[in-house]
Symmetry: C2
Subunit: 222 residues, 2 copies
Amino acid sequence: MQKYYQKIKNSPIFYGMADFELDRMLECFRAVIKHYEAGDTIIRSGDIITKIYLILEGDVNIEKDSYWGRRIIIQKLHENNNIALSLVASKNTESNINAVCTKDATILILNYEKCSAMCQNACMHHGAFIRNMFKILSKENVELIEKIENISQKSIRDKLLTYLSNESQKNKSNMFEIQFNRQELADYLNIDRSAMSFELSKLKQEGFINYKKNKFILKVQV
Amino acid sequence: MQKYYQKIKNSPIFYGMADFELDRMLECFRAVIKHYEAGDTIIRSGDIITKIYLILEGDVNIEKDSYWGRRIIIQKLHENNNIALSLVASKNTESNINAVCTKDATILILNYEKCSAMCQNACMHHGAFIRNMFKILSKENVELIEKIENISQKSIRDKLLTYLSNESQKNKSNMFEIQFNRQELADYLNIDRSAMSFELSKLKQEGFINYKKNKFILKVQV
DNA sequence: ACATTTCTGTTGTTTTTACAACAAAAGGAA
DNA sequence: TTCCTTTTGTTGTAAAAACAACAGAAATGT
């Protein structure tokens, strides 16, 4: 635990807490650290989620299997992200998603149920913690809405321009670097990779954008 | 305010509060009630959101205008829903969505900022309130993920079957009634209405489903 | 009951996308 | 460097969806 203390302290979910408060919380939550290898399933669809998972290292995908085989990537999570935080609040709710480790990961696991039952009123730090959770969930909400906006566009071109425009706004610059490679971007936008590459080429030719690998320049105000 | 007291009391955001607590909260939050007519814009993209909006009556759409004209419906909100709750937590964040009244509405507006600044520690009911908000946001999160699942399917048929299957699960029955009419369902699933109607007919012919108006029977386990 | 409006289903045509197969470029390892 | 692997770009074809236009059904108002 000591090895990861700084990381834990700097994570959004413990934001603004002094060391002594953090120590108290970790104890109260029965915090444990668990390691997962790429390919491991951390949460399986159907599991009852009663714990909070904080990614300290590694990558995790939130996926959903459709009944006819196709796998949908809902979110890609990294360091400092929480897994399935929204499922903790709705008690005794089965998970409807899988959380799959895609890059060797270290996860901090907090027994939220136990703690919230015990110290809802007693533990003075609980209030700050739940406010942090609320903020995290809010942010996630905004991101999900953004994803819906992106994939709700009706053509590949519109999806790309909307996505790039959103990224540009977030970076407050018309030059920015994206987090996805081409296949991942296609998965995120729910389109065919080759068709997307073709459309990117066209957009470049027509002077709307420029790019090299993951660095993009949005030349038009969309 | 008295006219809507029971509605307010029974809303999820004030869940579990006694009358005296509710009174105190409403005062603390500087609660006001505002009426909107169908067509009114309640929140405009660019607004800074510092208040909590609770729908007591009427319908509200959360929409996003794409830069090339098309309007995307992100969510349809009704009685007991909160508008843009996720934007309140991220302080000083501009709204990136429009909230448009689609059926004459009565909205309870709470000055969250003022209250949370004043009584974060003082007001003993604030804790319960934020836990309620957390739960609401969690639920919304789960619904957004479900929408992403639905619209991420690659064919109209798969979108329909996924949506119907999810509805069936929620109703714990293979017979259920859906909340959308055909045009609204097509908007929600991001597909063309007529193409959707055609696919529904095929699914009925092939024996996968049966339906009459908004009542559906899912005959297969998908 | 009748007229009018709204909602739903059907069909043909055009446009867009997915898919497959391959080419070119970039990145790593020996 | 060279070989091999991974990523990205290109093209033709087949499949799917959007679109438009209309017909029939259901709901609504008078």
